[in-house]
């Protein structure tokens, strides 16, 4: 493989060329209610070539690997047609490396029957819950090997073993339908998904409690986020804006995003770290052949760094950060997060709560979205806070904020910390889901707008 791919990259008349061949096998199991809707394996094999010439990019992806040379030439022709102003990518390597995820229990060594039994057990716990109408229990593992070569002389083989499960309960009373879930997923192997019986029971409890929750009233609230939701907040409120592909040819946004600008209080620290082995967003190398690494984004409230691919790094005169990622051979790498988190602070959760006379405590996550300025994020669960105590349960809470204001409104950062992966992931530019980790401590934000009645 190595010689053929390296020779191909060298043979192309391009300023830069890279080729990726990917082979993967995945196992999925999905219960929906009593039905086992899916069980079995899928395999994929495909490749892609990306070429840069005179400042333009061409990208070709395919399943038919016999025609590799023809597709590679097509990528160069497309790049020529784009044209533009010639530039060089920020240097990286050349690297020769092999990475393989090391896990205690390889999911491939567990029989399909054992995986099915485990899912069946979780499903029974959920369906056995009082007032539970139906369930979803979905398991997925995948082993994916990528062979990468580029015209700089790098050759990198990477094998990732991902394994995760989601357990979800749905309760129905008339037109009142409520749902709760728990999802785990990362590179820690099968051991990560085997002990979720207690989680299933908690999911049942959360679902049923939501049936009696009150709809939130529209307004502006002080909000305490739990560590998981804090992770989503950091991802949406700031992470995406750190992705330099939005910036590098956007002069006005670049002005706003100058290193050294204050974004939050001096106890706010935000980092993206692709080098955390085992976490959902871990990468040994990104898809341009740059090692995954730790990149502080906000330090003491000040913007200190951002996420790059080799083009944005070159054009902004900064170092590549190892954030050029593609979800598969079917897509070109774009600037993405890895594991993104707010660092722990000094306030205990108890103290934070006690100091909150009136507000909302929001936990877990359904999702989030940003347009680089405004963002939304939705918790899985929420409670009203009254007089420093957790009061009645709320439902249908979705929070919104403005990147340039909301970070300034953080006034307490907790001393605890969690980082979460999961079966889902991040979406950008038509590439979803990308495995990422999001995390942080508890934190409190003032003046958060909440939609409602």
């Amino acid at each position: 493989m190595k010689d053929a791919l390296q020779k191909l990259c060298q043979s192309l008349s391009a300023d830069y060329a890279e080729v990726r061949i990917q082979e993967s096998t995945s196992t999925s199991i999905r219960y929906a209610g009593k039905e086992l809707e899916d069980i079995g394996q899928r395999t994929e094999r495909g490749g892609c070539v990306r070429a840069l010439k005179n400042g333009g990019w061409g990208f070709v992806t395919f399943n038919d690997l016999d025609d590799l040379t023809r597709y590679a030439r097509q990528a160069v022709e497309q790049a020529e047609l784009v044209g533009g102003t010639k530039f060089s990518l920020a240097p990286a390597g050349p690297f020769e490396a092999t990475y393989r995820t090391k896990v205690e229990t390889d999911p491939a060594a567990v029989s399909l029957e054992d995986k099915q039994r485990m899912c069946d057990r979780y499903n029974r716990v959920i369906l056995g819950g009082k007032r539970i109408q139906t369930s979803v229990v979905a398991y997925r593992d995948s082993r994916s090997t990528t062979y990468f070569a580029n015209s700089d002389g790098s050759y990198i083989e990477q094998e990732y073993i991902f394994c995760g499960v989601i357990v979800s309960a749905i309760a129905v009373e008339g037109t009142n339908i409520q749902r709760a879930y728990k999802s785990v997923g990362d590179l820690r192997g099968f051991g990560n998904v085997v002990n979720m019986d207690a989680d299933c029971e908690k999911v049942v409890q959360r679902t049923v409690e939501s049936l009696d929750a009150k709809r939130v009233e529209a307004g502006t609230y002080t909000v305490i986020l739990d560590p998981m939701l804090c992770g989503v907040f950091v991802h949406e409120a700031f992470g995406h804006l750190s992705e330099s592909d939005f910036l590098y040819e956007n002069p006005r946004l670049k002005e706003i995003m100058q290193l050294g600008r204050r974004f939050g209080p001096d106890f706010l620290n935000i980092t993206d770290d692709g080098s955390l082995d085992g976490e959902a967003g871990f990468i040994a190398f990104d898809n341009e052949g740059v090692p995954g690494s730790c990149n502080p984004l906000i330090k003491n409230g000040i913007l200190v760094g951002r996420l790059h691919n080799r083009e944005t790094a070159a054009k902004m005169g900064e170092n590549p950060s190892g954030n050029a990622r593609a979800i598969s051979y079917h897509h070109p790498p774009i600037v993405r997060m890895t594991n993104t988190f707010m660092e722990a602070g000094e306030t205990s959760f108890g103290q934070m709560l006690q100091e909150t006379d009136d507000g909302i405590y929001a936990l877990g996550m359904i999702g989030g979205q940003t347009n680089m300025e405004m963002f939304t994020f939705s918790p899985e669960e929420a409670y009203r806070i009254r007089g420093g105590k957790i009061a009645e349960k709320l439902r249908d809470v979705v929070l919104t904020g403005n990147v340039f204001q909301t970070l300034q409104n953080i006034d307490r950062i907790g001393s605890d910390f969690e980082l979460h992966g999961g079966l889902g992931g991040c979406g950008k530019g038509g590439q979803s889901p990308l495995r990422v980790g999001d995390g942080g401590p508890h934190c409190r934000i003032r003046n958060v707008v909440v939609g409602g009645r």
Binding site: T43, G46, Q78, G84, V172, E249, L253
Partner: protein, 438 residues
């Protein structure tokens, strides 16, 4: 995959299983991509893959691959799956007696060159540059062809070829530390020669949004434009899914014949519209598709099913079993059409004393969709006072429940717009609350 190899795979599966079905899919798409006022990338995506579904000793098995070197392995994988699979409540269908003819292939589309698409994108860029040199223009134009074929051991062998051409135009402006972006998109099976229609709409909205007016917490009538109407349509689609109906997680279960929405709302699934993106003669299981109402004058008429779901519900399959090569069929719509009403958009706006036009939202689908809830940031919204747009509101949220909101319809627009495979008019509703600071 050439014809003989799909058949060879089916033959190998027939020797091993009671019944088998091969679903194969292939296609090619060429796209040009403009960002930040320049052409950046041209992409070609070629793909082909195959899914093998079997029924053996009464149980369903499934496996898929893009690696066609070893069909025996795929057969083994399907066999391993069928050991555990659900009980099949259906048989693979035989060849339909007749198939309706529908228009979904335009032979001009595969001949659209990358250079021609670059030219179209550049025309839009020039228009944007003339409007303002502070605007950053982005545009993606794509043309594709795809083939789906399903064949089974009960004699069915149907194949369809379709084309698609799509484009999106987005313009962004950063001003006074605030960011505005407006986008429009279109898709159709027929060739188009310009994106200027999209660019003109975007630039017109950029102009209207250039003044920001304060938003405050208040209830007022709101118009969902076709682009924002997905917030109302998505929960309905989920509830119409026969799987949710069967599990009891659809709010519409057991309510066929009931008045669910305002009587001015008629929603039809129509696979026969010439060259619409969701047009097809059969679904991906070979069940013939047909035009049918989901809601007729607000009354619930039907759900969407695939073969297994229909059997579990004791209903006839509706022809909504769609999938990619790597997935099993799932109920999903073809072309979802909401009937236009009789109020022009301009009249709707003129009739508002104080109200909001919602055109783009953030966070759609991240609420309790099963219950019909939506709660979204108004990414692009225009405040109307005394029948006139006075400016843009931002940093605010709108929330509601589709089943309540679509009972409080004040007007249905006369100008329905195709956006992908949905066609929907502007819809004006009453009594929603805008949430904002202040």
């Amino acid at each position: 995959m050439n014809e003989s190899s799909a058949e060879r795979l089916l033959e190998a599966a027939a020797n091993r299983f009671d019944q088998a079905e091969v679903f194969e899919e292939s296609g090619e798409a060429v796209s040009v991509n403009f960002e930040d006022n320049r052409l950046k990338e041209i992409t070609t995506r070629q793909f082909r893959g195959v899914g093998l579904r079997v029924i053996h000793q009464g149980r369903i098995g499934f496996a898929s691959t893009t690696d066609l070197r070893n069909p025996a392995k795929l057969v083994d994988m399907a066999a391993a799956s069928a050991v555990f699979g659900d009980k099949a409540q259906f048989e693979f269908p035989s060849r339909p007696a007749t198939l309706q003819k529908v228009e979904m292939y335009d032979s001009r589309v595969p001949n659209v060159s990358a250079a021609q698409m670059v030219e179209m994108g550049n025309e839009g860029l020039s228009l944007s540059r003339r409007a303002s040199d502070a605007y950053l223009y982005g545009c993606g134009i794509s043309r594709s062809t795809q083939m789906q074929r399903v064949l089974n051991t009960n004699g069915l062998d149907v194949q369809r070829k379709s084309t698609d051409m799509s484009a999106s135009v987005g313009v962004q402006e950063v001003r006074d530390g605030s960011l505005l972006q407006v986008y429009e998109f279109k898709a159709w099976a027929q060739r188009f020669g310009s994106v200027l229609d999209l660019a003109e709409t975007v630039l017109d909205k950029m102009k209207k949004a250039s003044v920001v007016v304060p938003a405050k917490l208040e209830a007022m009538p709101m118009i969902f434009t076709p682009k924002a109407a997905g917030n109302l349509g998505e929960p309905l689609e989920v509830a119409l899914d026969g799987k949710h109906v069967h599990k009891g997680s659809s709010i519409l279960r057991g309510r066929i014949g009931e008045q669910i929405l305002d009587e001015r709302i008629t929603i039809t699934d129509d696979p026969t519209v010439p060259f619409a993106p969701g047009t097809c003669p059969t679904d991906d299981e070979g069940t013939p598709t047909r035009r049918q109402h989901f809601f007729e004058k607000g009354v619930l008429k039907a759900f969407m099913t695939d073969l297994q779901t229909a059997a579990l519900l004791g209903m006839a399959p509706t022809g909504h079993g769609f999938r990619g090569y790597g997935s099993r069929p799932e109920p999903s719509p073809t072309n979802l059409i909401t009937e236009a009403g009789d109020t022009s958009f301009d009249d709707m706006v003129r009739g508002m004393r104080r109200g909001l036009i919602i055109d783009q939202t953030l966070g759609s689908g991240q609420s309790n969709v099963l219950a019909g809830e939506f709660s979204v940031n108004v990414e692009l919204g225009f405040l109307v006072e005394d029948g006139r747009i006075v400016g843009r509101v931002k940093d605010c949220m709108v929330a509601g429940n589709v089943y309540e909101v679509l009972k409080r319809v004040e007007a249905v627009g006369s100008e329905a717009q195709w956006l992908g495979s949905t066609c929907v008019p502007p819809i004006m509703v009453g009594g929603l609350k805008l949430a904002a600071q202040g």
